[in-house]
């Protein structure tokens, strides 16, 4: 809003009321200007923006002065220098000669990997506990309540420390607990058999299966094929799914390690295990804690959803002759999830941030990688900016995806989708 005429000088109105020499008119004009609502709005916004920009500029100037004093040149050039330090958990191949950007990428992959596994586990636990807490059986209710009240009221960091202490005090590899000599549990972590294939092949196989799943879902649900015969449709999506699995298997077979089978089983060699996938205690401790602690929160959200499903729906389903399990899986669960999905989205975003507790036990998640990079390279401002951008992107994409799902499954006309 421009206060145009007011800025230009006294308005005709002001000129008429004020008599006297021109030099005395300035002060009443200023006064009038301050009482002009549009001008005040405009001035307040300019002042506010100026203060914010001023604070930011002040911080950046001080920081760059400090960095110059330490002999560090600002900018993102350091991302291509090699780090010189090693990390303890990585899904991608890594050596200390690799540059900073690769370490940051590994940290992000680790965060997403830990987040997706522990959120999935927490959802399963939450669903079971919520079902127990809303069941008619008082004993089941009691168990659910004890579970929620115990683990919700103890900080998650304490649980992380506790599980880490438990996992690192398991017997050493030579006396590891084993299941049929294929799965080993020891103080060095959990060792499970794995596909012995190259990284590109496994990524390719995952992509093939994901594409197949999406295509199958599309064929099964898209309106475009609504007029086709249901049988034709089912055959079509089954065929697409089968094809994608066949391609994935072929890719895996082509990318297998030389001189070995498709599957590598962990074996005791010297002081540690070789082969298979190693799940270090840090990862296991974090995943267990997020599963248990996050499970209580998700259980409470889902319980609210179960209670919000009107009893008439359940009674109608029972009257139609559905069995208790069918009433649960086809009526109560789908309706409850639709009711609470927005709350659940917030809970997931919040739980994803719990992965940053990795720094407490030494798991190299995105935050820990950033923190170590700051102390090693000194590029504070750049790395903090990367941290903020990284978490903004992850949180924003997660909530965008879930919000789209929310819009897609909301019951039209019953729930507002905005």
């Amino acid at each position: 809003m421009r206060p145009g005429p007011v800025m230009a000088g006294p308005t005709p109105n002001a000129a008429r009321t004020l008599t006297g020499p021109a030099s005395f008119r300035v002060a009443p004009t200023m006064f009038k200007l301050l009482r002009n609502a549009k001008f005040r709005d405009w001035a307040a916004q300019v002042l506010f923006l100026g203060a914010v920009v001023g604070v930011v500029v002040f911080f950046v100037l001080t920081a760059s002065a400090n960095m110059r004093a330490q002999g560090i040149t600002a900018g993102y050039g350091f991302l291509f220098q090699s780090t010189g330090w090693d990390i303890n958990f990585s899904l991608l191949p890594y050596t200390p000669n690799d540059p900073y950007w690769k370490v940051l990428a590994i940290g992000m992959v680790n965060t997403l990997f830990l987040g997706s596994i522990s959120l999935a586990l927490a959802t399963i636990v939450g669903m079971v506990v919520a079902a127990a807490r809303t069941s008619r059986n008082p004993m089941l209710n009691t168990i659910g309540t004890i579970y929620v009240d115990t683990f919700r009221n103890v900080p998650i960091l304490l649980q992380v420390f506790f599980w880490y202490a438990i996992y690192t005090r398991l017997p050493p590899p030579r006396q590891a607990y084993s299941i049929f000599d294929t799965v080993f549990l020891s103080a060095r972590g959990l060792f499970i058999p794995a596909l012995d294939v190259s990284g590109i092949a496994s990524v390719g196989a995952c992509l093939a299966i994901a594409a197949g799943l999406v295509a199958a879902l599309w064929i099964a649900h898209a309106r475009r094929f609504a007029r086709k015969e249901p049988v034709t449709r089912r055959i079509a999506w089954l065929a697409v799914l089968g094809l994608s699995f066949a391609i994935a298997l072929l890719v895996l077979f082509m990318g297998r390690g030389e001189g070995s089978g498709l599957i590598s089983v962990p074996e005791l060699k010297g002081l540690n295990f070789r082969g298979g996938i190693a799940i270090p205690p840090e990862f296991a401790a974090l995943a267990t804690s997020i599963m248990i602690y996050g499970g209580t929160y998700i259980a409470e959200v889902l319980r609210a959803g179960f209670l919000a499903v009107s009893r008439g729906q359940v009674e109608a389903a029972t009257a139609l002759g559905l069995r208790p399990w069918e009433v649960f899986s086809r009526i109560r669960l789908p309706l409850a999830i639709r009711m609470v999905l927005p709350t659940l989205i917030n809970q997931y975003v919040w739980l994803l941030k719990a992965t940053t507790l990795g720094i407490a036990v030494g798991f190299t998640d995105y935050f820990m990688v950033i923190a170590v990079s700051i102390t090693q390279s000194g590029h504070t401002i750049e790395l903090i900016a990367l941290l903020i951008v990284g978490f903004l992107v992850v949180n924003y994409s997660l909530s965008t995806i879930l919000n789209r799902i929310n819009r897609a499954i909301a019951i039209k006309g019953l729930q507002s989708t905005t």
Binding site: Q45, T150, P155, L158, K353, T356, I359, I370, F391, L392
Partner: protein, 363 residues
């Protein structure tokens, strides 16, 4: 329909199993099986817990760690031996009574401010200024004949309670300010504040504490950097305030528009409307999520251990980390968990009570 069933006594009695009656436990074969399985499970866990924690436990430090090795139960002897380290951290040994009293002072202030008598801004402010003054004089010393103890030596439970209380107390006015700015009708102000709130909300608390402790000295000119403890409390308050601001904004939005319009029509100024119309109602609407947020904040106080503070979690780690007690970590964590549980459970019970009381006028 359900109301109808409830109103006809005969039907209700026939079709609703009374709680505690045999039918809810053994209504059908499946139900009976579930009940029995659960009962056995609860009994089994309870029996083993009692066996470990009470029957076979070693309670006294008299026998040392060897007595624990000989027994199959819990080793509470470590608590007996190290409770001072866990509760007071690195605070000088002879001055532990000061740390204990200071902790009691803050807890007492918190309890007093839960009484409706103190629910006026002037009384509440006086109460907390007095509480914090007592805490600071007792902890810091250097006056009234008390020896001086620098902030780096503070630790244990009193540090946890102090960081929590001051974080919430500083954060609450900040939250009100942020909520009002975000509700501003001027687009530049509301958008900027909104972007700031969303950006901080998307960051994990650990990274904010890390920034406050390690990076903030870097962006401030020398001489203005302050003690690390107060920087971390500022970071903690900031984190609390962005979440609480959104809760308060939700509360303000649930006030009917007519209220504000009526107040405007009566000629009340902006600040009068905020103070007398908006905030009292907003806080009433926002009470359940506020209590929830405060409870979460108390649990998250534990994260300051990551930036190197010796609060109760760190002192617990130290209690079993050294010497001959390394095997007794479960007992230490159980003890700390119990302390947290006591605080958090009391807070959430009080919240539930408050919700009941506040709802009375509205129904």
């Amino acid at each position: 329909m359900i109301d109808l069933v409830d109103r006809i006594p005969g039907i209700a009695a026939q079709h609703r199993p009374k709680p505690g009656s045999r039918r809810v436990f053994f209504g059908s074969p499946v139900n009976s099986a579930v009940s029995v399985t659960c009962l056995v499970l609860i009994g089994y866990v309870f029996w083993h817990m009692m066996d470990w924690a009470v029957v076979n436990a070693v309670w006294s430090d008299a026998g040392g760690p060897e007595a624990c090795h000989a027994s199959s139960g819990a080793c509470w002897a470590i608590i007996d031996a190290r409770w001072r380290l866990i509760l007071f951290g690195l605070y000088p040994f002879e001055e532990h009574w000061r740390s204990g009293l200071a902790c009691v002072a803050v807890v007492l202030t918190a309890i007093l401010s839960c009484l409706p008598v103190f629910w006026q801004s002037a009384r509440l402010a006086t109460l907390w200024v007095c509480g914090f003054a007592i805490f600071y004089i007792l902890m810091r010393g250097g006056m009234l004949g008390l020896t001086s103890v620098p902030e780096e030596k503070w630790g244990g439970l009193s540090l946890t309670v102090f960081i929590f209380a001051s974080g919430v107390l500083v954060g609450m006015p900040m939250a009100i300010g942020l909520a009002l700015l975000r509700r501003s009708r001027l687009p530049v102000i509301s958008r900027t504040t909104g972007a700031f709130i969303d950006a901080v909300r998307s960051l994990p608390l650990v990274s904010i504490l890390f920034t406050a402790a390690v990076i903030f000295p870097f962006v401030l000119p020398p001489g203005f950097q302050g003690e690390k403890l107060y920087r971390v409390i500022a970071g903690f308050a900031l984190f609390f305030s962005v979440y609480q601001a959104e809760i308060i904004r939700g509360g303000i939005q649930s006030i009917p528009v007519g209220q504000d319009e009526a107040a405007k029509a009566l000629g009340l100024s902006y600040w009068q409307r905020v103070r007398m119309i908006m905030l009292p109602q907003a806080f009433r609407y926002a009470l359940p999520p506020t209590i929830n947020q405060i409870v979460t904040t108390f649990k998250e106080t534990s994260l300051v251990v990551i930036v190197g503070f010796f609060e109760i979690m760190a002192s617990g780690n130290a209690a079993y980390g050294t010497g001959e007690w390394t095997f007794a970590y479960v007992e230490v964590y159980a003890f700390i968990a119990l302390i947290y549980f006591a605080f958090v459970f009391t807070l959430s019970r009080y919240g539930a009570y408050l919700e009941r009381v506040m709802r009375v006028g509205q129904q």
